[in-house]
Symmetry: C2
Subunit: 194 residues, 2 copies
DNA sequence: CAGAGTTGCATCATCAATGTTGCATGTTCT
DNA sequence: AGAACATGCAACATTGATGATGCAACTCTG
């Protein structure tokens, strides 16, 4: 591999990144957007997009793969296995939000056919599962908490926080974790109001 | 209007309903589904769908209009203006869930161009807003609660409950309201743990 | 400068979904 | 049975997105 080749390839990779980021911006606003619109947003010709990605599926797949990698790294960086549950929960939330703010669409498509992405995703899923189990055993969650429901709520809160978009990842994470654990009410719930 | 006409028109209306319901089933699974697939699910020919709905947009519009009406009725039937906040919250939740379980896709498309639907939707939005304000003033929500965030969370919880699909509307509503107010944790939150 | 590589542009082929129409065949009511 | 209407079927036109290709122009690097 010559120096020239490296330099040129670097240009190419920059273009690829521009396309991926443009696709994220466009598709997060309109999932049915056209390759033309993506190319326009990326500032390249549509043919260039097709030269880089054989098909639309390939493009979305590449986005999903990229987001999946960042997602897995974000979770791993929070050390959810070793950190105390509350710390882990907060760190995972903040890190995932950082990724999701930039790659929301790609992450929503990360559950597709690609076997590698599916594997990574399942792995993260399992880590999250264990984190919630640990949280419950540590008394952070109610002993009778339905972990499946808790996880659903958690994902939904992260999603809403990412959509609302006001504040940085740390502020949003605080809000998410706080809401997840305490809700927004003052009462002790329907079963024991007041 | 002759009796014959009435009878025939009644047949036609039944077909329309079958198409609307089939479209909901198909599109909730795959929003990009084909008119062909919708027709197949409805047990009619594709041409029949096109005879009833001039275009795909018209079909989705009709679904949205139908769902919007049921949605507005569901909220109104809970008397959110006059009932005590906690009761109103629960009743609205249960009633909306009943609609959303059957018309999830249509409701997700109810924010479109149609002026009448938009009006109704804004009206409901406002009722909900007032309900949350009343809930806060009644001490049901924390005094410092961000109503915008609370509403987002509320909508998201309803959505998740409808997706999870286990249990009837009343059980789901209980879960939603309980989670909204108390969260899933035992602590007093990040600011005052333990 | 020469060469390798990339991009833009124009163009073409393909394809799937949409929307239309004519006609024969029911179905329901009178 | 006859009138009125609805449906299925087959065929057709249209359209918009997708994907491919040839060529000229550009930008690096050596």
């Amino acid at each position: 591999m010559t120096g020239a080749t490296r330099a040129l390839r670097s240009d190419a990779e920059r273009t690829v990144r521009q396309i991926l980021e443009a696709a994220e911006r466009v598709l997060s606003r309109n999932p049915a957007a056209t390759m033309e619109q993506i190319a326009e947003e990326a500032g390249v010709a549509r043919t260039t997009v097709h030269r880089r990605f054989a098909s639309r599926d390939a493009l979305v797949g590449a986005m999903a793969a990229w987001a999946t990698r960042r997602f897995a790294d974000a979770v791993e960086a929070a050390h959810p296995e070793t950190a105390p549950p509350l710390v882990a929960l907060y760190q995972v939330t903040a890190n995932v939000l950082r990724v999701k703010l930039d790659w929301g669409f790609a992450m929503s498509r990360a559950l597709t056919a690609d076997p590698e992405a599916a594997r990574v995703h399942a792995e993260v899923e399992e880590k999250c599962e264990r984190m919630f189990r640990a949280a419950r055993e540590a008394g952070l969650l109610r002993p009778d908490a339905d972990l499946g429901w808790a996880r659903r709520v958690y994902y939904a809160l992260i999603h809403e926080a990412a959509q609302s978009g006001d504040g940085d990842a740390d502020a949003l994470a605080t809000r998410v974790v706080d809401t997840l654990l305490r809700g927004v009410g003052t009462t002790q719930g329907l079963t024991a109001p007041r």
